[in-house]
Structure formats: structure tokens, C-alpha cells
Symmetry: D2
Subunit: 369 residues, 4 copies
Amino acid sequence: MNTFGNLFRITSFGESHGKAVGVIIDNCPPLIELCEADIQADLDRRRPGQSHITTPRDEADQCEILSGVFEGKTTGTSIAVVVWNKNQESKDYGNIKDVFRPSHADFGYDQKYGIRDYRGGGRSSARETIARVIGGAVAKKILKEKLNVEVWGFVDQVGEDKFKTIDKSFIEKNPLRMADEKSFPETLKKVEAVKQSGDSIGGSVQIRVENAPVGLGSPVFGKLEAELARAIMSVPATKGIEFGEGFDLSAMKGSEANDPFVATTQILGSKNSESADPGIKYRTQRNANGGIIGGISTGDDIWFRVGIKPTSSIIQKQTTANKAGENVEIEIKGRHDPILVPRAVPILEAMTAMVILDHVMLHKAQCGL
Amino acid sequence: MNTFGNLFRITSFGESHGKAVGVIIDNCPPLIELCEADIQADLDRRRPGQSHITTPRDEADQCEILSGVFEGKTTGTSIAVVVWNKNQESKDYGNIKDVFRPSHADFGYDQKYGIRDYRGGGRSSARETIARVIGGAVAKKILKEKLNVEVWGFVDQVGEDKFKTIDKSFIEKNPLRMADEKSFPETLKKVEAVKQSGDSIGGSVQIRVENAPVGLGSPVFGKLEAELARAIMSVPATKGIEFGEGFDLSAMKGSEANDPFVATTQILGSKNSESADPGIKYRTQRNANGGIIGGISTGDDIWFRVGIKPTSSIIQKQTTANKAGENVEIEIKGRHDPILVPRAVPILEAMTAMVILDHVMLHKAQCGL
Amino acid sequence: MNTFGNLFRITSFGESHGKAVGVIIDNCPPLIELCEADIQADLDRRRPGQSHITTPRDEADQCEILSGVFEGKTTGTSIAVVVWNKNQESKDYGNIKDVFRPSHADFGYDQKYGIRDYRGGGRSSARETIARVIGGAVAKKILKEKLNVEVWGFVDQVGEDKFKTIDKSFIEKNPLRMADEKSFPETLKKVEAVKQSGDSIGGSVQIRVENAPVGLGSPVFGKLEAELARAIMSVPATKGIEFGEGFDLSAMKGSEANDPFVATTQILGSKNSESADPGIKYRTQRNANGGIIGGISTGDDIWFRVGIKPTSSIIQKQTTANKAGENVEIEIKGRHDPILVPRAVPILEAMTAMVILDHVMLHKAQCGL
Amino acid sequence: MNTFGNLFRITSFGESHGKAVGVIIDNCPPLIELCEADIQADLDRRRPGQSHITTPRDEADQCEILSGVFEGKTTGTSIAVVVWNKNQESKDYGNIKDVFRPSHADFGYDQKYGIRDYRGGGRSSARETIARVIGGAVAKKILKEKLNVEVWGFVDQVGEDKFKTIDKSFIEKNPLRMADEKSFPETLKKVEAVKQSGDSIGGSVQIRVENAPVGLGSPVFGKLEAELARAIMSVPATKGIEFGEGFDLSAMKGSEANDPFVATTQILGSKNSESADPGIKYRTQRNANGGIIGGISTGDDIWFRVGIKPTSSIIQKQTTANKAGENVEIEIKGRHDPILVPRAVPILEAMTAMVILDHVMLHKAQCGL
């Protein structure tokens, strides 16, 4: 299915080498100021060719709003946004048309549908993530303006190297979207070497939601972790997700893993007067659960890590099978993206922002009468 | 929301110390033979008190089918199944009524709804998983009878110890549901020691789907991994999921991570005649992707690992905060489950089976005209 | 599918002669005071045997809340409510087991599923409407308490006789739920004669929503009329629905059918002070559109009419076909409900109330940030 | 919400005077031959300016497929189709910008969202039905090719005149899409007179599904009538729907309304051999229920009638209210469509075809394992 979300919903379309990719955003709150520039910023963070270590496919990925915005504001009706594919060169696909590239979707699509658009991966191409980034840009804007919620991410692992330092200000200053300035130069060299050798490399992304509202998610099937996991694991090349300390918690005892609540009484200044209200603020001691306990957000920052495999398209020669049942060798020519994780950051942010906004709306619906 | 599934759906209800927990199974295929015994086997694998290392809460968890089955067969209409709570002792909850137990759902429910049934965790109690196991038992039966698909799981990690050996026949012979007979005795001792000390311990479960059909899942948002991740991460105490080699793939290069398709030409005997058809069978070399590539099942076994945190309820004294904004000490009395993973196995199997059946039905709908 | 609603949802189960019928209410707002008595009032208006002109099946239809209510209030988690079937006499169904009763669901179920519970109609029995009435009773209570919205209905046609007078106070004072006291005695005589002759008779119900909020429903597919039409036409025996002046509008010219908006400037007293705000109140001149224009409620009363066919079960001998392909005669013995419309009133009210509440919640979600 | 359908789904966008209107068709079966011409035929039946009695807005309404079709066949992925708006003259909307046109959506949108695109009705314009017709054209093609199901409709009432004769071959030969050749000339004159006077007129459409499969729809909430009613009542200007003999059944006794099943034993020639199988074929005597009983299709033709109000936009002067709370007079200039029913026919066919295909897929999913 090509629709995502319960209340804040996107429906996407488009193939790598078709005319366009695009999205319909449904049930967006009205009266939000919105223009192409609001969306373009994140599309630019996703687009190929943004640095020397990504695929050089030349796509400006300029978006165009077709509906749902009137006099600069959302109207509450469906917002269609489209990005026209420029780079539709009709090259010869003879060599991959009938071959199932290793770790690519070719085989599954072929078996499922009996047909597939083999040009550049067709619908399975990462170009579909443009639709996600568009939806996410709108969700981010609403979250920021209405609730001061901020969703951001960074690369916390490249290949075997994991980085602990989180310097938010550095992330958008380096092509790897790392938050650890000190480790960056050496890691960049590694990635350049991987690119040089016609190979690719994996990594991990950490996503954080600052000022996340308390009370999002629901008991049982609609746990916020479940909804986020679905969103994230629908992004191409993701192979794992863990919330908070994640798999490390599996190795602990309860006395180590448990994370006590801590209450502080704050003096909250009222906005409209000089009086002051004392308020209770709750936090957990170390936020080991990633801001979600029992499926419901606690008001701590939400954070989770996403494991991403190396780009499946590599230049090196590989073996695989073809449609005729023969085992063959293939060489994939042309574009080559040695590392996916930096470009995955805005996509994962987008999915997260949409889930958070969706659950803000769900919560409002049930508990806001 | 308390409904799970797209086409094969369950809707659940019930609290730990309410009258009953139960489930409505919707859109179940008709003409499936079904009786309570078909369900009870898995409920017995889930129930407390099944061994000396689980919580001793005494619940037989006998299920009762209220509707949807006629003359021993499903009718295609909704199937309601209920388990009556026996152990509803009205003990004094005074000590936890207003306290937010560490790593428990108390705080989130309270903030979200302004009210919570604090008796034994209410709706956040793991008793809700009875509904999942019931739905899963029906899904498993259909998968086995109609498609020869088998869903099973085992504990592949307890605390820091990971087990590589997979001896399927041993799993149901030991109370830890380990598949590694050699490591079992020592691990059991560790768990007993944890129990003795009033503490708990985490672990991991591996789930496998044998004879998984090819072509399940859909491009973009409905990837099979996304749907499974949602299902699994909605189970209490899960903190992470990884498909196939999962997070390990993040540390690899593409040339290491990629997993070529391999074709073999088989002589497939026709069932109804003596003629024989040559067929092509595809497999990947090592199934590094866990049987799902590009979001669609490949026909390889599906496999993934689930990280589960240690039981939050421990006997040891802990600090936390209460509703009044005070930081307090609590001691949780009564039942105590030192390890969740063995009982998690049938629950995770159930969720998996329901997702697989759901997607068999979705596939049939789109591609079966 | 056995689930109804987008946000305020019910999932139902149960057959005529099974153990029970029941419902799970999902996503109900928390902190609503709720007990069995709140629901029982409407169940009593639906139940058989409530007067001498309904089926004499003896069912008290006492409901029991199994979950979702704690200390007298809804907790926001799923509310299960069950009614146990008392009248499960195992009479001989030999004569209808293989026969397709005229205008009954027997044939369709048989063809669709290859199996059906033939005892009293099984799942197709009107007993399933108990679940609707339960869900509706909760929705009505919330609408009344939170928004002062009232949903009510009455019989405005019996057979060929249509009644124009609407005396709300008379409705619950007569067994036909007519709002026209003057026409009642004669109509009652007709119905009694129909009953005497072993026949049945059709009629129409009018439903009204007083103090309906403005702005419910959405453009395009989610028009409030569409959502109400689905809800209403899912009730057994309904064959038509028309909003406002309905089919009569088809016969008009635009200059006759159009219904101008009229604005009045009101002095709205503020609740908390002695100051007064002038407010604009809009109404249409005659509410020809039934309170919904362009799919969105206008703030006028919502009103529509529902055509209901005569009870299919009649005592008179009829011809029909059986499973073996023979054309046969049947006589349906036992219970006989000469007129459905009076008992349909609470069912149609229930469906309406759930749709209205659902859309209040949807509206809050999209426009309430 | 702007998505319609359970399995075969469309999501639509676009305003009257925006850049484009369009649709994403999701979950379409793969391997269906599809090109723009397949869709254009129905768009031409819907488009304005097709005859002298419709609005003269000059729009060719040429559709363009953007995705989901490869080498002339559907791929199973989402199909985007767009129609560019040509007639976007930037005329002066000063006179209707702040006025709530009688029986138009202006008021509701304004109250709901606090903003509306007032140019030509914006999202509430009937131009949104282009998306429906596109989705319906695809559904019709699949139904015809795979199941020989045909969905068609005609105008059976104009103003007060109802037509009983059904001559299918005449429908597309006259601009009123009447099926009664004899009544046509006089009715045309009436409509021309209405147009001349600056007024409009209502009417009714009858929709029929030939060769409808048996077993579509489901018990309780998913009754086929409920699903069709929702689909139909979401079309602009519809005010009522009745299935089969509809409201007339309300006036009958059971002995009159009931419709016995009739079985005939047929000799069904096998396609692939010379042997012949005797088959039983069931029909109802007069199909009073419109091909649906108990919510499930019987295999009889499905038929229902839809009441449509006269075009709200008339040339004659009218009173109404404006945003400032003043009661004013308005004159709507420019285009004027004196009768909606002929152009409604392809739209209602489209909605019907999508519901039928959707339920074929749902049925396959549940009962086709």
C-alpha cells in the first residue's frame, strides 16, 4: 500500500525513471503557512549529488505544490506535491532487465507482480523517499510552530566505527552528517577509500525528538514504538531499530535497566501575568527507554537508532541468478552511492515527524474533548 | 487503538484484574476446523506458572469461544474468545496506586488519560497478550493447513550470553525455550540466581518462518519488515528488532553484505500424474536479509531477532516519583517474573503468524484475480 | 468486517443462538462516567418483547461491562460489553437448514462462505444490533455531556401512511414510536391486523440531531452524508436513505430547492462575566438539505429519513428454493415480528450518534491543534 | 479524508482553479493493459461542454498517466493520473469571496477550516469528480476483462418526470443520458426552457451492475449496500439512495415485499471439453432488493436509484448571508449548468465500479485461500 499514517497521511507515487515522483498529503491542519521553500530545504538534504561522496545523479529535485495551499496557507484539503524527474536518459538496461541484482528488490517484485519497471529500480528506487521527505517537511513545520517539537538526526556509526559525541551544531556542516567532529576526518577518508574501490559501506542513524509531548501512543497495538518501528523499517535499506539503550537492555538485569522517575517542582512563569505557578516536572534518570515506556511517550526526549545496510549497488563484479534460472555474473555500471546513511537522515527524520504529528492528532481526538 | 491487522484482524480487551481478557478475530477464512484445544496449546506456553522460573500467578487461562464457530468450523464471521481472570484478589494497592513504578506504563497512562486501573498494571499488564496468542493460534493453524507455513521461535540470548546453536527439537523441552541444549544448564542456574536475588534479566528471541511464501509485503510503506516491526514492537518489553544479520550489516561493506541469488533447476513431480515439470528454485546464498528484500519476501526463511528488556517488576527496593511530585522509595511485593523471554516466544510467534497470514490475504486480493 | 468507525470504533460479535453477543468499544474518551444502567436504557428500547406488537422472544438483554471502566469511569482503553443469550432453545431447524428463506441472508451467506449458522439466522440475526445500541449509548452520553448534542428518532411512516406531526414528547409513550399522537390509534389497529394475519409491514424512521456542531464531515469522500449513509444502510432491513427533503429535491428547480443562509446577530451573554459579546448565528431558511451542505454540517439540525422494509419472516406460507436446487414451500414457525420500525429507532439513533461523535473527534484532530 | 476504498483505493487532490486535479490509484492488480485512452472515454462523458445543455466551461480534460504503468501494463504499484486545469482565468471573485452561496459548500468550509479557496468553489467544485472517474475507468476495465461485470447507468427522472422504459442502447445517444427514447424530446425541451430561464433542475440516476458476482459484501457493518451508499452519497449533489424497490418497500406488507428465490437447473457446457455439467442457478423472482440481501450480493443484477438535487448555481438573483453577518443579494455570473444528472451518470458508475472491484478483492482475500 502506498499510504502512510492514521490521521496525518501521505500517499505516494512515482518510479525512478518515470515522469515524476510525488505525494498527496491528506488531513493536514488548515491555516499553516506553506510554500515550496519550506519543503525544498529538506529535499536538498536528501537529493543525490549534494556532496562528492554520494551518487552523482544530477537531479535538482525542485518540488511544485499542485493543490491544497491557497494564498500561502494550507486549506485543510489534500496537498499534492510533485517533483519532476529530469534524468530520464533512456540508456540500455539490457544487462539488468532479466537479472536479479543481489540484495535488490528486483526478484521480489518480479515474483510478486510478474512485471517490474527495471529502469533504475522503478518503484523500488530510493527516489520514492522524496515523497516521504515532502510529507515530513510539512509535519516538522507544524510540530515546530504549534508545539515547539524538533525532530533531528545524525549518523552515529559508519561501518564498524561508532561515535558517542553528539554535537548538534556540527551535523549539517559535514557531508557524512556525523555529530562527532573529531572522528569526522578519518571516517571521511575511509568512505572515500570505499568509494574508490567501487564498494559501499553501512552505518547507523540516531533520531531524536526534542520537546516530545507526553502521552503520545496508545496501549497495546498502537504503542508509539510500534508505530515508529513501522515507519522507520519501511525506509529502504533499514535492517534494524532499537529504542533507547535497545539491545543493550537485553544484556542487563532489571536493577540495572530500570530507570526511575524523578520529580522536580518548578516555578513556571505564567505568560500573561506576573504570577507564577509551581509545576511538577517528571523525567527519568537516564532515559534508557528512549522516551517511551509502555508504548506511551514520557516527555523525555524520544531517541532510537536505525541500522542501515551498505548500498546494494556496487561497482565490483558479483554473481547472481537471472529470470531464466541461470547463475550469472553482473557488473552494475553508472551511478554509485558508496554510503547511504547521510542521505537517510532527512528521510528518517521525516518518517519520525509524521508519526509524532499523527499521534499528537490522535491524542487530541481521544483526550481533547 | 486495540485493533491489529489489515485483513486478518484482532481487537482485544481486558485488564489484569478485570473480569476477563479477550479478543475478537475478524475476517477469518471460513471452513477452518477450530476448537478451544487448538488455541489452548499456545495459551499454555504463555501462561504464568508454567515453570519454576516464571511468575507463580495461578491462572489456568482456559479459553472459551463465544462466537464465529459452528459445528466445529469457522463461519467467516467474527470469532470472540474470552479467558476469565480467576486471580482477582482484591489486595491492597495502596502502595502503588499513586506511585509511578520505574520502567512501567503507570506514568504514561496517568498523564495521557488522567486515570488508570492500577490493579496489577490494568490494561498495561502482560495479560493483554492472551488476546494476541489466541489470534496467533488461529493464524498459525491456517498457515500450516493451507500453506504448510510454520512459525516458531526460541530464546537466543539470556543476559549477556548469546547462543548460536539451533536445535529446534529442544526448544519446548526446557523452561527457557532455548535451542542450545549444551548452554542450557548453566544459563538456568544464572536465571535461578537472578530470581533468588529478587532481580530480573533480559534476553533476545529469534523468530523464524519456514516455507514462507514468496511475494508477501508491498513496496514503500507496506514492506513486510515494516509490518512485522510494528507487530513485534507492540509487544510489551520489546526494545529492538533486527532482520537477518540486522545491525551487523551496518558494519559491513556492500561486497560483504550483499547476498547473491542462486538458482537451481529442480525436477518437480506433479501431484496428479506421473509427468514431471522442471522448475526453477531461487535462494540467496546465506539469507543475510532475513528472507525479505526490498520489503518483499523472497521465499527464503524469514528470520529476525527481538531484544527484550528485563522484567520491570523486581523485588529489590527502588527509587521513583509519585503523583504528588515526591521522590520516594518503593518495594513491589508479590509476584515476580525473573525472566520474560521464554514466555515471550509464543507471543512473538503469534504476532508474526498474524502478519504473515494477513499478507497472504493481501497478496491474494491484489494478485489473485 | 465487524468493525465500525474511524476513531470512535466498535467491533462486534455474536450470533442469534450462540452464547452471547457483544462489542468492544475502542478509543473512547477517558473519564466519562459509565455504568451498565447508562447502556441498559437503550437496550430496553431495542429488546424484543417490549410490547405486544413485537416478537415475543423473551430476552432481558442485560448487559455486562467486562473492561475499560474503572471506579465508574472510562479509562481510555477498550470497553468490552456483553449480553448473554438466554433463549437458546435447541429447537429443530430441520425445515430451514437447507432452505433459503425469501428476502433473508441465508442464500448469500451460504454462497459466500460455504457454511452458515442457520439457528435463528446466526450472525445475520438482528441480535447483532445489540452491539450497535451499546456503542451508541456510550456515544450519545458523551455527545450530551460534552457538547449538548442530542440524537433522537421516531417512526414517520407505517406502510403507506406518512405522518408529518412531530411531537417529541409522545414518541416514547407509544409502542410504535410515532411522534403523531393523533394518527397513532388507527395505525396501531392496522399493525395489529397485520400481526393477526401472520404478515408484516414496512415503514420509515426519521432521525434528528439537535445542536449538531458546525464543521463536521470532510470534503470529497468523507462527507458527513456519506458516513451517515454507510452507517445507516448497514442496519438490517434498511433499503433507502434520504437527507433533508431528499428525493423531493430531485423534482424541484434550483430556485425552489436552494435554501438561503440567514444571519442573525445575537447578544451572547458571557458565562463568566456581565459583559456581552455580539455573535453572528447562521441558519438556512428551511433546512432543506438536512443540516449538511457540501458534506459538512452547517449547524442546523441534521435530519434524514430511512426506508425500512417489512420483516422478512412472516407466518404465511411462501415459495422459495433450497440448497438442492428444488423450488419448495416453507412456513416459518415460532417468533414473528410484524413491524420492525419501532425497534429500529434506537438502533438508527445509535449508528447516528457514533458517526457524529467520530466526526467530532476527527474534526478536533485536524482543526484543534 | 481524500482516500476512498478498502483494497482498491484512490486518493484525490485538486481544486477548480488550481493547477491540476488528479488521483493516485493504489493496490491495483498488476498486468492490466492500461493507457490514457482507456480512461479518456469516461472523462469525456463527464467533462463540461459536452453538449448544449451543460456548462460551457471549456476543458478538454485530457488525462496523463504519471506512474504505475510500464510497457503498457499496470505494475501493481501506485498509478498517478493527472488532468491539468486549462481554464484558470483570474476573474474577479470579489462578489462571492465573502458570501455563502445558497446550498453551496462555502459556508461549511469556512466554518470548518477558517479558510477556503473561493475560486470556482475550490476543493468543493465538481472538478474533484475527475479523480473518481479516472479510478472508476480502471475498475470498470478490470471488472469487464476479468469477470465480465458491467456497470452502467442512466437518467430515470428529470424534475417531476420519471421514466420506466430502459433501452440501454439509447443512453449514450442523447445528451440527457435517458434510456427512454420516447420521452426524450419533450424532456429536452423542458431542460432547455430551464436553462433559458437561468434556473436548474434535479433528477435521478439509476445504476445497474450486470453479471454481479454472488457473495460480495459482508455481514454487519460491511454490507454491500452500506459500502455503495457511502460511495454514492459522497458524490456532490446526491441527496438520497434507495436499493431495488427502495422506499416503495416501506409501504408494503411482507407478503408483497418478499421475493422468493427460484432455482433452475441448467446444463452448463464445460469450456474445455465436450462433457456437460448440470448446474443450479438461483435468481429471485423480481429482484426487489436490488441484488443485495442481508448485505451480500445474490448474483441478481445490482440496481439502485440516486436522487440528485438541482444545480445550486443558478443565474437568478438570490438572497443569502455573508461573512460579516449581513443578509445580502447575490447574482452568480458566468457558467451555469442547468442539469447535473447526465454528467453524474459516469461519476456514479465510477464509484459503483470501484466498490464492486474492492469487494471482489476483499472476497478473494477472505475466501480464496
